[in-house]
């Protein structure tokens, strides 16, 4: 039986992590179908059909799906789930919200946030904020899986031509009503997919001081992250939070500034290729995961860093 992936999108474009999820799902089963549920989202269905790994696109279109409410999505997914062995989705806030609701109605024990496909029923997943890895085997007939997007490469986006099939909508639920979404618009790369991330912690001292981080982010074309402490202190909005309950990032370069390195933060960034820590406390735990540690006052180090970067002839973007 094929696997069914639920695409995440905004009715106009496919969200990037859907391509990572396609890679993971096609490792589970090469016969991969993708479910596109939304409102006036023909373009999304078309983009997905061009992904070579995708064998078939099932498109369900109705105004009730405009804001991806899980109460409505769930019935649509269940209605189309019968002929599939696996239902797969990204483990970001979209998939975390949706998949357990589906799994419970299918009486399936969900496997969350996998980082490796070992076989069709066995997966590797982090537990305890990534302080342990568990190999788990699902014994349910139909499996519900969410995948950690940063652990899988994105699938190629062109060259395929899967068939697009329209399907009937599910039951309408009136339990929940969408009111508004406050998205933070930015010209910077997305935190989850950026090549370079620079994050500030409580050591930044104020929201205003984040301009020191911004200047370097501009120079390196980096996304801006933050520790939970910095978000809790109101220095920066929650969508920047990196950690166990925030975002997991795996950039080529992660620069942690004024971040002590609590277990919860390390869970979100310790798989980064190169980690730099700038902290005035030489004993801070962040240094234990840093490839390059600089014990210094960030208010002196950051302007110096900008100056040194300005001296370079070329900077990778």
């Amino acid at each position: 039986m094929p696997a069914l992936l639920i695409a995440e999108h905004n009715n106009k474009e496919v969200k990037p992590f859907t391509f990572n999820a396609i890679t993971a799902a096609s490792q589970i089963d090469q016969d991969l179908h993708v479910l596109v549920i939304g409102h006036s989202c023909e373009e999304v269905a078309k983009s997905i059909s061009e992904v070579p790994n995708v064998k078939k696109v099932i498109h369900i279109d109705d105004s009730i799906y405009e804001n991806y409410l899980p109460e409505n999505f769930t019935t649509a997914v269940i209605k189309n789930s019968e002929n599939y062995s696996h239902i797969v989705c990204s483990a970001n806030t979209f998939g975390k919200n949706l998949m357990p609701r589906i799994a419970a109605l299918l009486d399936t024990s969900q496997v969350s946030d996998i980082i490796k496909v070992i076989s069709t029923d066995t997966f590797l997943r982090p537990i305890y904020a990534g302080n342990a890895f568990a190999t788990v085997k699902s014994t349910d007939k139909k499996k519900c899986i969410t995948i950690r997007p940063t652990s899988f490469d994105p699938a190629p986006t062109s060259g395929g031509s899967a068939e697009i099939v329209k399907a009937e909508k599910g039951e309408t639920s009136n339990l929940t009503k969408f009111i508004k979404r406050e998205e933070v618009k930015s010209d910077r790369p997305e935190l989850g997919t950026a090549r370079v991330v620079i994050s500030g912690g409580r050591g930044m001292g104020s929201g205003d001081n984040f301009k020191l981080i911004t200047a370097i982010a501009d120079k390196l074309n980096a996304a801006i992250g933050a520790s939970r402490a910095a978000v809790d202190a109101g220095y920066i909005t929650n969508d920047h939070q990196v950690g166990q309950t925030g975002k997991v990032v795996v950039p080529d370069l992660y620069i942690a500034v004024g971040i002590s390195g609590a277990i919860q933060h390390l869970a979100g960034m310790k798989e980064s290729k190169i980690i730099v820590a700038i902290n005035k406390d030489g004993e801070a735990p962040i240094f234990s995961v840093a490839d390059y540690g600089l014990e210094a006052d960030l208010f002196e180090a950051l302007p110096q860093l900008l100056e040194e970067l300005n001296k370079l002839n070329t900077i990778q973007k």
């Binding site: 483990a91 600089l294 110096q304």
Partner: protein, 249 residues
């Protein structure tokens, strides 16, 4: 209005978790245990709503071995009125937990059920959503603000893109984010008083719920270790290393 809050006992968030040598799990002997952090936010919010006069009763429920009662006692000490301990030994997966909670909801008839958005031990992030599905109730996950209106609930949710606000009918399930509020500490007199509050014990076998594990844990291992890095003397050296050694800028 009556609010049921589900709390879980987990290894304290400050403890450096260690994997057992035989690969069967993590070390829990002689390790400090606490209430799952966002469950503390769930209790705090329920108690605040009660204090504002919008709720009459807060019931705290936990599922687990005998010692799990400590988490209910703590909830009672910060303001819950009544506790329930469903005794079950061994690993209980979120699906089984949500089936048990469904039974408790049917027994207690709460208007709202609160719990943390995720437990920091198994990091599953499933139970609230599953319970909402089994009850066919609305779900408001990752809540950072909860407002009780006349006949509905308005919840601000923390999502990847920023914030989202939804309105749900009541009854509803809310899973709480760490930023929802600042949980209070239990004072000593309140800890003493909590000992006199009612705590009902239920054996899971009396609820008729199948708690058999559906997911086999084959092994638990240490994640690959990062090799130790170096300290650089100054910013100039840092930039040199990043450019010429790591080749990332």
């Amino acid at each position: 209005m009556k609010i049921l809050v589900a709390v879980k006992r987990v290894i304290d968030y400050n403890v450096q978790v260690r994997v057992k040598e035989d690969g069967t799990g993590v070390v829990t002997e002689n390790v400090k245990m606490s209430t799952n952090p966002p469950d503390d936010n769930a209790i705090e919010e329920a108690v605040k709503i009660k204090e504002s006069g919008k709720a009459k009763e807060v019931v705290a429920v936990t599922i687990g071995e005998d010692k799990a009662q400590e988490t209910v006692r703590k909830a009672l000490a910060v303001g819950a009125d009544k506790g329930i301990h469903v005794k079950v030994d061994g690993i209980t997966e979120p699906l089984a937990v949500s089936k048990i909670l469904k039974k408790i909801v049917e027994k207690e008839n709460p208007d709202l059920v609160f719990m943390g958005k995720q437990a920091i031990d198994d990091d599953c992030n499933q139970t609230g959503q599953m319970l909402a599905a089994l009850l066919n109730w609305p779900q408001a996950t990752f809540a950072s603000k909860i407002e009780i209106k006349e006949k509905s609930l308005e919840v601000t949710r923390e999502v990847d893109e920023g914030l989202e606000t939804i309105e749900t009918t009541i009854p509803a399930i809310v899973t709480c984010d760490l930023r929802l509020n600042e949980p209070r500490y239990a004072s000593l007199p309140n800890i003493m008083k909590a000992k006199k509050k009612p705590l009902e014990q239920i054996n899971v076998s009396d609820l008729g719920v199948d708690t058999k594990q559906r997911i086999e844990q084959i092994k638990v291992e240490e994640p690959p270790k990062r090799k130790a890095g170096i300290k650089v003397a100054n910013v100039e050296e840092l930039v040199q290393k990043l450019k010429n050694e790591a080749k990332v800028i």
